[in-house]
């Protein structure tokens, strides 16, 4: 496996600042804004965005977390590893009713996680709108899903793997691309 760094910690911080600025610009009703991270790495990313947004609006920005395991379309024996996804916390302390929810995830790939996340959210209420913010868009969509806020677009092959590492979960910040080395 060959590993290429896509974002180093400084670049990752700058990308987050830009994403936060774009969200503030495009969602001017900051009272309605509710950032919701998708477990696992979407949650600390949402928290960092919330801190940046809070600093610019002067308002404490609420953050929620959702786990989409029970809404996936690939649970059951057909999963290659025969291993059910570990279920993590779903925490929406404020109601999403009438809010502008910005769903936050680390990597946008097939779009299946986003579909599951939308269904999860809908079971908690009827938001005014849902937007999607991702740190990395690596392409290869299998569903008609597009992000509203993209940190970095990374063209990839399906055989490649994109790994986002976030300090709160992985002990370091950065984005890497893994590719098979040609024999």
């Amino acid at each position: 496996m060959h590993r290429v760094q896509v974002l180093d910690p400084r670049e990752l911080a700058r990308v987050l600042e830009r994403l936060a600025a774009e969200i503030v610009e495009q969602v001017p009703e900051d009272k309605l804004l509710y950032l919701v991270g998708v477990q696992t790495r979407g949650v600390p990313i949402a928290q960092r965005l919330a801190a940046l947004i809070g600093a610019s609006t002067g308002r404490k920005q609420p953050v929620g977390a959702i786990d989409i395991s029970l809404y996936r379309d690939d649970i059951g024996p057909w999963r290659p590893a025969h291993q059910q996804p570990v279920i993590r916390d779903t925490r929406l302390d404020e109601s999403i009713e009438g809010r502008i929810v910005v769903l936050v995830d680390d990597v946008l790939y097939t779009g299946r996680t986003v579909r599951a996340a939308l269904d999860t959210l809908m079971d908690f209420g009827r938001p005014k709108a849902i937007r999607l913010a991702v740190l990395v868009d690596r392409g290869h969509r299998e569903l008609p899903v597009a992000a509203d806020f993209v940190g970095r677009t990374v063209p990839t092959a399906r055989s490649e793997d994109v790994q986002v590492r976030i300090n709160e979960v992985d002990g370091e910040d950065g984005v890497w691309l893994y590719r098979e080395v040609a024999p």
Binding site: L70, Y71, I75, H82, Q84, I87, T90
Partner: protein, 318 residues
């Protein structure tokens, strides 16, 4: 030292606590912890088992367990079919195996079985392709009860390790005690059991518990006191003179509860015989977690269904 959860369950079935490793028990409890919050959502239902069919095959009377499984199945969006032996072809002489094979011909994904014969779920598990879940087999095992008891204790005390758990009552006829002793001792708790000598099965201590004849010896300093129902319907010959005498010598009363730790948890798998093995003042008292056990039962059964739906496979590297 806390137990690292396994990545998955190894078996296709849950026939008992006996075949489970501590890591698998930990995985079920961790998953159940997450399932609990679904009951607090505006929509108490997730699509995880959409399109799956569960047959609830109950050859013995049950309200709590059958309802609990049914609620768990519905919360996960599975379709449940209920079977009661009294209204089925069993009354026409059909054997268990034939009943099960006929049900399986309708392609269910899970069969939840309660049967008066120990080993009935194990036999079905060997024959059927569906995942078999034991909801109580004779006086043998009742794995989901032990798991919900463990979840209740863990959510109150943070851990099972190092706790002293006293289990008192009809040990002879109880499947709950067997599953509980195996689970709790495997997870690092110290288990003491107590009953009149006539209600202590031979070889009880080989399960990994201390056996006492006086309730006072078992509950002194205990973190948890779990009372078992006197199964009046199963006493072929009376193993004790009268329920009243049982109360006098073995019931958990407010006075006896003082022997346990100050904040000891009081548990009972239900249905209770008030005034026989447990005094109402204790059953309804501040230390009782009896109704939380029922709530946790749904979460544990959801976890088991969800994890077994992953199917059987080779261990993975990641």
């Amino acid at each position: 030292m806390s137990v690292t959860p396994a990545k998955r369950l190894r078996g296709k079935d849950l026939v008992g606590i006996d075949p489970l490793h501590p890591g698998e028990i930990q995985l079920i409890l961790d998953t159940a912890d997450q399932m609990r919050s679904i009951a607090e959502r505006p929509i108490k239902k997730v699509p995880a088992l959409r399109g799956k069919t569960v047959v609830n095959l109950f050859f013995e009377a049950s309200t709590r367990t059958r309802f609990s499984f049914e609620v768990a199945e519905k919360r996960l969006s599975a379709d449940s079919l209920n079977f009661a032996a009294s209204t089925s072809a069993v009354t026409k002489g059909e054997t268990l195996i034939d009943t099960a094979l006929n049900l399986e011909a309708m392609q269910p994904d899970f069969i939840v079985i309660r049967h008066q014969c120990p080993g009935a779920p194990h036999q079905l598990a060997r024959i059927l392709k569906s995942a078999v879940i034991n909801a109580g087999d004779g006086a043998h095992e009742h794995p989901t009860q032990a798991l919900l008891d463990a979840l209740t204790i863990r959510s109150k005390r943070g851990t099972l390790e190092g706790l002293v758990v006293a289990i008192v009552g009809d040990l002879q006829h109880s499947r709950v005690v067997r599953s509980n002793v195996m689970l709790l001792s495997r997870m690092g708790a110290k288990v003491r059991v107590a009953a009149p000598p006539s209600l202590i099965p031979v070889g009880m201590e080989t399960l990994g518990c201390e056996v006492h004849r006086r309730i006072e010896d078992a509950i002194s300093g205990a973190d948890v006191v779990m009372m078992l129902r006197i199964q009046l319907e199963r006493q072929g010959r009376m193993n004790f003179p009268t329920p009243r005498e049982f109360y006098d010598f073995y019931a958990l009363t407010p006075e006896r509860l003082k022997l346990a730790k100050k904040d000891a948890l009081v548990m009972h798998p239900g249905p209770m015989n008030r005034g026989v093995e447990i005094d109402s003042r204790v059953a309804d008292g501040p230390q009782s977690v009896i109704l939380e056990q029922v709530t946790n039962g749904v979460a544990v059964r959801m976890a088991v269904l969800y994890l077994l739906a992953g199917g059987q496979g080779e261990p993975t590297a990641d």
